[in-house]
């Protein structure tokens, strides 16, 4: 029996950087001294909370505006949610079972998929895969609505294996064809006289009822049976390992060892592919708490946005939110392609850095109401102490010497010039510091 590990201030800050958004110093300190198991229980709900209602009127047809509003709603949800880990998991699934409003075009259908992520996404993986696959968003996004017997469309059949479950190396090109044949006829209602209705509909006349050889097994494969095969049949090991590795990399750090992944995957399989079991196993994993895992993951742009909005108690119009999100390279519900967004260095380029800095530049005019960073305007406070205070307001209790010096120099420079810009400049400078950009 290992000794019970109690959280230090550093542990608590690390835990909240990974499982919440924009934690304050008070929230960090509230966890100090608690056992790991206790904070994990606090963070991870026992069951999925009920799904929120669609934030806009379902009868609207201005899908671009609806998209803008719902994307803004989600960032706001990250800021205010009492169970922020649900938002992290919804983001995780959004970036796994990728669909995009650019092709689906109907925001209400994108929302239906989103609801699956925040409900079934905290339940059984096999069930989630089935529900997403038969949802209107995916049927449209990967063209399965036009996959018919005799005119097979391979887009979905391929990605189901390559991206959603077992991954490359565990199927052949023949399997792609067989898989695609198995999914023929599983489409949508289509044009109903007023719109392209993306409600699921099975059309037996378009289904290939013949035998198909999938993974060496010949039978009349049909749609969801292939998902059982992928999740709990002959591909159970690669599939469970793939999800375990991806979740590890979302919450812990890149490049886990194969042994670690296999062990987590076994826990996952033993639970019958229960997601919350896997989430708890990841958060309690020794690697999660290891010093080597701290600040190893560049925040998604929306994570950075939500942090800053929460800390500064700022709310933005959805239109502004979208305008600021775009140059950072991440618009929710509109990923670049079916492989989704990347991680770490994927997010770091000159231009996305401009986008992240511009976001800070926009928010720095909203600081007045919240009183954020007012303490550093006291000229009697020595510059390096003022810099520490400022970082602490960002929930950063351990800034590097270089970062402190950079901010302190800025404070000194502007104080000497009697400039008005101490607060806004320090705000942006800390926003673009690695301490804020990396979790």
């Amino acid at each position: 029996m290992p000794p019970i590990s109690l959280l230090t201030e550093q542990d608590a800050a690390h835990f909240l950087r990974r499982t919440a958004f924009g934690p304050t110093v008070d929230e960090i300190r509230a966890l100090v001294g608690l056992p790991r198991a206790a904070v994990v229980e606090l963070a991870v709900p026992l069951v999925a909370p009920p799904a929120p209602a669609f934030p806009v009127d379902r009868n609207r047809t201005d899908h671009w505006a609806m998209h803008t509003e719902v994307a803004g709603w989600w960032v706001n949800q990250m800021v205010t949610s009492p169970t922020p880990i649900v938002e992290h998991l919804a983001l995780f699934w959004h970036n796994h079972f990728v669909s995009g409003v650019d092709k689906v075009e109907q925001m209400d259908v994108m929302w239906d998929q989103h609801v699956l992520f925040r409900t079934v996404g905290l339940g059984n993986f096999t069930e989630l895969t089935k529900k997403v696959s038969l949802g209107g968003a995916m049927l449209r996004y990967l063209d399965n609505e036009v996959n018919r017997a005799g005119t097979v469309q391979e887009n979905f059949g391929r990605e189901l294996m390559e991206l959603f479950t077992c991954g490359v190396g565990h199927y052949s090109e023949d399997d792609v064809l067989a898989m695609s044949r198995a999914w023929t006829g599983h489409g949508t209602v289509g044009w109903n006289g007023t719109k392209h209705d993306l409600t699921y509909r099975f059309r037996p006349e378009h289904h290939d009822h013949g035998d198909k050889t999938l993974f060496g097994i010949t039978r009349n494969w049909d749609a969801t049976a292939t998902i059982d095969e992928l999740c709990t049949g002959s591909k159970a090991i690669p599939t469970s390992k793939r999800i375990a590795k991806k979740l590890y990399e979302y919450f812990i750090r890149p490049n886990p060892t194969d042994a670690t992944v296999s062990a987590l995957a076994k826990v996952f399989r033993d639970s019958g592919l229960d997601m919350l079991t896997l989430v708890r196993a990841v958060l309690l994993h020794e690697d999660f708490w290891s010093l080597a895992s701290r600040r190893t993951i560049v925040k998604h742009p929306v994570h950075y946005m939500a942090d800053v909005l929460r800390l500064t108690s700022t709310s933005l119009e959805p239109g502004s939110m979208r305008w600021l999100m775009t140059p950072m390279g991440q618009v929710l519900f509109d990923p670049p392609d079916v492989s989704g967004w990347g991680d770490n260095d994927y997010w770091l380029s000159t231009a996305t850095a401009w986008g992240r800095a511009d976001f800070a530049q926009r928010i720095r005019w909203n600081l007045g109401d919240a009183g954020f960073l007012t303490a550093i305007e006291d000229r009697s406070l020595p510059a390096d102490q003022a810099a520490r205070t400022a970082f602490a307001e960002f929930g950063v209790l351990d800034p590097s010497v270089e970062s402190i010096t950079r901010v302190a120099d800025q404070i000194t420079l502007l104080r000497n010039k009697h400039s008005w810009a101490v607060r806004p400049n320090v705000f942006t400078l800390i926003c673009v510091s690695p301490e804020v950009q990396v979790r």
């Binding site: 063209d143 036009v146 018919r148 005799g150 005119t151 097979v152 469309q153 391979e154 887009n155 391929r158 390559e162 991206l163 490359v168 090109e173 792609v176 600040r295 190893t296 993951i297 560049v298 775009t326 140059p327 950072m328 390279g329 670049p336 392609d337 079916v338 492989s339 770490n344 260095d345 994927y346 770091l348 380029s349 000159t350 231009a351 996305t352 850095a353 401009w354 986008g355 992240r356 800095a357 511009d358 530049q361 270089e402 950079r406 120099d409 800025q410 420079l413 502007l414 400039s419 008005w420 810009a421 806004p424 400049n425 942006t428 400078l429 673009v432 510091s433 690695p434 950009q437 990396v438």
Partner: protein, 648 residues
């Protein structure tokens, strides 16, 4: 003096952080320190402080006068090679593609039985000018049909699986002096895999102008920008913290330099806008060596025709905008590659689309590209198991050629192995730097410009320093005819024409013996039109064009007159093939007033960039029967009008 003091303070502050740098700077004669200052001064005092971080990493500023520039355009989603360079003359293509096949004559003729996509006006003009190399049957020979796996492998250029985390262009940039502006990608701000290297060499620009950090004048903003810039100092490991810190510093450096590229003006399409940004970035001369962008939407599972028509028009407009905007001084130093991850299946699916395939067609455009067709044209009788065009040429052969011949780099080191090279560039024998330093040639003279233009016109290459020296006296005397006549009958000229005939008429490269034979014939004074008639009359051409008198006559209409046959003409010429012979029929086509009039127009366009006046048109259309095209070309090229054009 004030600037210098400020700079010293900044350097000292920077040195304070790093004991190694302190040792270096306070070592013998403070070499490093002086070096920084010189680098900064060379770049202009206005932004001296900002440039220092760049020059420190760079050791070099803008490109040397002969450095080559490479542009790569990604067609995302798998471009249909068969609907790019289209085998309209192949029956099996029509059978398999069904309703998606393009009818003969629908596209722009390239060679017998092959047409370029109808929307590609600019590319077809460039091909006619010898500036386009099509690379056919190309692909990643170990790739699969997944977009992501294959694009990752295509971009990495290594044979490792999974793909290396760096790209072939990024690794090239790692090995040359540079800055964060050595590589420029225009898209949504990200950096595609092929541009990723191990050092900070690439800036991802958005197509709309969104840059933080450019200001150096507004006092509180400049102070903030300078502070963010200083994040570029310190170690650069691959840790998330180091990457996140330095990227912001680098972004301020880049913003301050790159700002002017966004002066684009009106453009005809989003792709034209992107390509204009790339041209501006080159014209700005801030050291951009590799520039990339992409055009998305090629995953034609549905509605191939409508989508591909739109995309090809976009691409063509983008290329035209790019070359239109490019400064003349870079014209011979830029080469553009258009590539994609794979081609598409030959057989149509029933959504009006085509699924993922294998071999595709890539192409390169540029003044120094050796125009023609490379690789293996899609062979409908030799498809792979899934019905895809075979990959007969690995992408790495293209990369090796670009790296070694165009960029003068070590292709083996960058690609991790050795690949056969293609002879894609017109001056393959003289890799960069192409012009001998003896040209003293940094200051072009009017006579030199003219001699250069004549070389490009007749020999499809730039003049060397020796060429300029040889012909300048005659040009200065006003005896331009002497120069044009000499160039227009040189063996080099004849060789270029023979190569052209092989490629356009027979669709293949000349073999050495055949080439020597025809150059000898031309040297004896036989008109080029007569030689061309021999090519069109050859059994090889006849076989390639259906092998019947009807198909032969149809092809002459298409290739010589650029139009479909009319009924009465077709009937007449088909009936006389048997009696006067194929060569005589081809010669008759050349001698027709229709052909002569269109050749006169074409030469006026090519040389003077305008249509002939009515009198000139009539006169030369008659004279062409006796004098031959080359005489007209020499006349036009010796005109005052062409001389003036050459000075632009």
């Amino acid at each position: 003096m004030i600037e210098r003091d400020r700079d010293d303070v900044m350097i000292d502050r920077w040195l304070r952080d790093d004991p190694e740098k302190v040792a270096a700077a306070h070592g013998p004669a403070g070499i490093h320190r002086r070096h920084f200052l010189q680098g900064a001064l060379a770049l202009g005092a206005a932004s001296m402080i900002d440039m220092r971080w760049l020059t420190e990493r760079a050791g070099a500023a803008p490109l040397a006068a002969d450095d080559r520039i490479f542009v790569a355009i990604e067609l995302t989603g798998g471009n249909d090679g068969l609907d790019t360079l289209i085998p309209t003359g192949t029956g099996r293509y029509h059978d398999l593609r069904k309703g998606l096949a393009r009818k003969p004559g629908a596209g722009r003729p390239i060679s017998p039985g092959w047409e370029l996509h109808p929307a590609m006006k600019f590319v077809s003009e460039q091909y006619a000018a010898g500036n386009v190399a099509f690379v056919e049957g190309v692909g990643d020979s170990a790739g699969n049909r997944s977009h992501f796996v294959t694009m990752a492998r295509v971009m990495s250029g290594e044979q490792t699986l999974p793909a290396a985390p760096t790209g072939w262009l990024g690794r090239y940039l790692d090995g040359v002096p540079g800055t964060v502006l050595s590589g420029i990608n225009v898209d949504n701000g990200g950096i595609p895999l092929h541009m990723k290297g191990r050092s900070p060499r690439v800036t991802g620009l958005t197509f709309d102008k969104r840059m933080f950090g450019a200001s150096t004048t507004n006092a509180p903003m400049a102070a903030l920008n300078d502070a963010v810039l200083s994040q570029a100092q310190g170690p650069r490991t691959e840790s998330a913290m180091d990457m996140a810190r330095t990227v912001f510093g680098d972004s301020v450096s880049a913003a301050r330099q790159i700002e002017p590229v966004y002066d684009v003006g009106e453009t005809s399409s989003p792709m034209a806008h992107r390509m204009t940004l790339l041209a501006n970035a080159i014209n700005l001369d801030v050291g951009g060596r590799v520039l990339t962008t992409r055009l998305n939407g090629f995953d034609a599972h549905q509605s191939l025709i409508a989508d591909h028509d739109r995309l090809m028009a976009e691409l063509d407009a983008g290329l035209a905008a790019f070359f239109g905007k490019l400064d003349q001084r870079f014209a011979d130093r830029v080469c553009v590659l258009v590539f994609s991850e794979f081609g598409r299946r030959v057989g149509a699916n029933t959504s009006g689309g085509v699924d993922h395939g294998a071999g595709s067609t890539w192409f390169l455009v540029g003044n120094r590209v050796r125009g023609g067709r490379y690789g293996t044209p899609a062979d409908m009788s030799r498809l792979d198991r899934q019905g895809d065009v075979k990959i007969d040429l690995d992408i790495r052969s293209v990369y090796a050629s670009v790296l070694s011949t165009w960029l003068g780099a070590d292709d083996r080191e960058i690609l991790g192995s050795s690949w056969d090279k293609l002879d894609l560039f017109a001056d393959a024998a003289a890799p960069a730097p192409s012009r001998p330093p003896s040209s003293g040639g940094s200051t072009p003279t009017p006579a030199g410009n003219y001699v250069d233009a004549l070389h490009l016109l007749f020999l499809h290459r730039s003049a060397t320093a020796d060429d300029v020296a040889k012909w300048t006296p005659a040009v200065k005397r006003g005896d331009r005819m002497a120069v044009t006549n000499a160039l227009a009958v040189s063996d080099e000229w004849a060789g270029a024409r023979v190569n052209e005939l092989y490629r356009t008429v027979l669709g293949r490269d000349a073999d050495a013996r055949g080439r020597a034979h025809w150059v000898g014939i031309i040297a004896k004074g036989v008109q080029l039109e007569k030689v061309a008639a021999d090519f069109y009359g050859s059994p090889e051409y006849f076989q390639h064009n259906g092998g019947t008198n009807e198909t032969f006559v149809d092809s002459l209409y298409r290739n010589i007159l650029g139009r479909a046959s009319d009924r009465s003409g077709r009937k007449h010429w088909t009936s006389v093939v048997g009696t006067i012979g194929r060569t005589a029929v081809a010669a008759s086509f050349y001698a027709s007033i229709e052909s002569r009039r269109s050749r006169v127009s074409a030469l006026y366009q090519e040389i003077l960039g305008r249509n002939p006046d009515a009198g000139g048109h009539r006169y030369w259309a008659d004279a062409l029967l006796h004098t031959g095209d080359v005489t007209l070309a020499a006349q036009l090229a010796s005109s005052e009008e062409f001389y003036r054009r050459s000075q632009r």
